[in-house]
Amino acid sequence: MNLKEATAEKHREAESLPFIKSIFESRVDKDQYADYLFQLGLIYYFIEEGLGEKFKLFESMEDLKRHKGIIEDFNELSDKNINYIARESTLDYFKYLSTINDAKQAMAHVYVRHMGDLFGGQQLAKCVPGSAKMYKFENIRELMTTLRAKLSDDMADEANIAFDYNIKMLKEYK
């Protein structure tokens, strides 16, 4: 079974969650989405700057990094009177990422997050509040090709773990 097939079930589970549905139906609550961006900012920072630097994950695909766009979206949508804090599911994922000590294991998380942004992002960008800078890519096809070349089917178990953590984060929102 290839990586896509091996993770298809988790992928479907994530897409069927109420929060994702509300995004696709363009009725996501702006404050909830801003909070979600805050959580993503923490996770992407670790994947891109922590694991990314350690294992050179983004070599020849620097443009794939999304952290900057997430922060810009968050700044656009966040409410200055709200004290944004890391949710428990985010901290659990953050802590889990800190235990990763293998490049392939780390790349599985890039697959789940960034490949998802490349594929579904273009549709999501039309549905979310704000400018959706996190989904703006300059060269999608080239990035997809470069990322695909770094993936292998033996990343499936770890990719499913990544999906589990992402599903837990999404379940925080109704």
Binding site: G41, L42, Y45, N83, Y84, I85, A86, L97
Partner: protein
């Protein structure tokens, strides 16, 4: 009315409340004075989860129109968790300096968490750090000055309290076999290079020799 003090003092109360349930260590009587023209509070906490936690409050609002809070939490010597540090210097109209850091000891996710969060919240440092500080503080350190709006002060309150929650929940859970004594001592050594710490207290009437001893034993206790 003072917006800065009205925000800073309740923040100190909140920080202290986070230590409810921890064992309080008595301050050595040689550091207790009853002839000072200002109030000098020291709270030292003991726990199996960390080596030393200390909150010092210098309340010289009436005497010199200044209020200072200094706080550190040192992890256990075999814990790679960073050292938690937070300082506020506040006049009546503004917080002239606020410094907050997770100072790196070993390889610990809390360091990255702190940096990620600072970036998320868009803090931009406005205070230039002296050389001794650059030796020990992390690149993600919060170093800001002249905070005088309610929004800025609430933001500071939010990030410090949230970070303290995360820190206290996680410190002591990352024990390993590496000994961080040298790194903790290095942190203490450079902190003691800050000339403003003793200068202010001597100016306030505290005996220099006694205060230097207090710096060694209470503020920045090196492991012998």
């Amino acid at each position: 009315m003072s917006l800065a003090w009205d925000k800073a003092l309740p923040l100190a109360d909140k920080l202290l409340k986070k230590f409810n349930g921890y064992v309080i260590e008595e301050l050595d009587p040689k550091y207790k004075f009853d002839n000072l023209q200002f109030k000098w509070h020291n709270y030292i906490f003991k726990s199996l989860n960390f080596r030393h936690a200390h909150i010092q409050i210098i309340d010289a609002r009436e005497f010199k129109k200044i209020w200072v809070l200094h706080m550190t939490i040192f992890p256990k010597i075999n814990d790679p968790s960073p050292i938690f540090g937070f300082d506020i210097v506040s006049g009546p109209n503004k917080i002239t300096g606020a410094f907050h850091d997770f100072s790196k000891m070993g390889d610990c996710w809390l360091d990255t968490f702190f940096q990620a969060k600072k970036l998320n919240l868009g803090w931009e440092n406005s205070r230039k750090l002296p050389d001794w500080a650059l030796e020990i503080f992390s690149p993600g350190m919060v170093a800001v000055g002249n905070l005088n709006s309610e929004e800025e002060l609430d933001r500071l309150d939010g990030i410090v309290i949230d970070n303290l929650n995360e820190y206290l929940y996680n410190v002591g859970k990352n024990d390993g076999i590496i000994d961080y004594t040298e790194k903790q001592n290095r942190y203490c050594h450079f902190q003691k290079q800050n000339p403003h710490t003793p200068a202010m207290m001597v100016n306030f009437g505290v005996n220099r020799e006694v205060f230097m001893q207090y710096m060694d034993e209470v503020l920045f206790p090196e492991i012998k």
